[in-house]
Amino acid sequence: MRPFTYERAKSAQDAAVKAATTPGARFIAGGTNLLDLMKLEIETPTHLIDVNGLGMDRIEPIDGGGLRIGALVRNTDLAADARVRKDYGVLTRALVAGASGQLRNKATTAGNLLQRTRCPYFYDVNMPCNKRKPGSGCAAIGGFSRQLGVIGTSDACIATHPSDMAVAMRVLDASVETIRPDGTTRAIPIADFHTLPGQTPHVETALEKGEMIISVALPKPRGGTHIYRKVRDRASYAFALVSVAAVIGKDGKGAVALGGVAPKPWRVEGADALLPNGSKAVADRLFAGAAPREDNAFKLTLAQRTIAAVLAEAKA
């Protein structure tokens, strides 16, 4: 790990200003992903801004319905919150499908959104990777791509976003609330929060320099059956090959998003409308324009079958 200086932020705006003005600065909250990457020298910050003392660790009701989740709410606490379990079950389900108990106790809401891909070529510093070293190439294309993306990818990067939580937030139409160094705040719809790689795969979010997540807002509960179905190589503590987050009403209408297939939680609003038509119609719409590789073409079939299982569960 490279040496770095360390400070505890005094306020959210203070943290944003420091992040914008200190060269090589990064925020640290749970640290479970950042420290892993620092040990491998994939991330090499020279200054860490510890935001853990800033509060932002409560889940509060929003006037008119909905919940505001502080950026520092730990994954365990978010999953266990009685209101989340009752009204946003898909979110609890997604959270407990991810990582291990130890990691969920430390990992934060904002950090979960900002975690980096687990593409093996991003992790191997001896390999070219446009995300880790812009312009160096992509070893994953033509490499072992079983875990990697089938849609939303580019000829520069086929990495997936590894989060389960974010897939549930996408189906719930959450918005990511931030503060900028000048003190202004904004709400970014989660649909626009993560960006597609294009020719700049090192750019992963809509965040500006120094901009910091302060909370995530969930709109008022919409009822329905909440399901998160994750398919992986072992029964626990593994990243998704494919996951399906769905909220489906008694009339068969609802919303669906996929994890494990794209550089961001994958939802196509036009596919939601096809839910009453069955899994094939939904999957065909979600995967229009897909660019699978030989190793991961199975994800298209697997996703359709997982959607079918979810629809059957919703009907039962």
Partner: protein, 212 residues
């Protein structure tokens, strides 16, 4: 010869080899900053940890993980370093009542925190019920993952009692039942290469007072 050899612990042997490696390493170009002395010393920071009830003030290289602080500075070597990347769970300790991977957190981020390690759970003369159950059920073979397994197991039972849901909880709107299925799922962050899992599950069931 046997007596003389017996006086040297495995730890001493490891220390000697580490020193040898350090001398060899100092000849290489990677240690220039160290040779130049204090001016280029890596940044340090102070932190006070409350480890097993005892406050300890440490002056640490900011890069020091909680795991390394416990082992190398507080000299509590019960907590083990396995993968050092949060994948194996050998480094699990309980901080402010919750289990975490001590390898994936910086010591300086834990000002004032209460840390419980395997040494704080029980002692050879006064075993924690979970330690006693691991002994009774052979919940280990080589023992390397055991401190992490036991810290995790103790915290898992608390998590179920506190109503934290898991991936195998059928209805997340209700409290999770105290079952071996729940315990097994929640222990998935602790890997045992010897494969003592079924005995660990039996030990946990005994402490929880349920049928294995």
């Amino acid at each position: 010869m046997t007596e003389g050899y017996g006086a040297i612990s495995r730890r001493d042997v490891l220390k000697t080899s580490a020193a040898g490696a350090a001398i060899a390493g100092s000849l290489g170009p990677g240690n220039v900053a160290m040779a130049q002395g204090q001016a280029d010393a890596p940044p340090h920071a102070a932190v006070t940890l409350k480890v097993n009830g005892e406050s300890t003030r440490l002056e640490l290289d900011t890069r020091t993980t909680l795991l390394d602080a416990l082992r190398e500075h507080v000299k509590l070597t019960g907590t083990k370093k396995g993968c050092d990347h949060g994948q194996c769970g050998a480094c699990t300790v309980i901080v402010n009542g919750r289990r975490i991977n001590s390898c994936l957190t910086l010591a300086v981020m834990h000002e004032g925190d209460e840390v419980t390690t395997i040494e704080g759970l029980g002692s050879p003369d006064n075993l924690h019920p979970m330690q006693a159950a691991f002994v009774e059920h052979d919940g280990y073979q080589c023992g390397y993952c055991t401190p992490g397994q036991i810290c995790s197991a103790v915290a898992v039972l608390e998590e179920i009692r506190a109503g934290v849901p898991s991936h195998v909880t059928a209805d997340v709107s209700k409290p999770s039942p105290m079952t071996t299925t729940e315990m097994r799922e929640r222990m998935s962050g602790n890997i045992c290469r010897c494969g003592a899992y079924s005995n660990i599950a039996e030990a946990m069931a005994q402490v929880a007072g349920v049928k294995a």
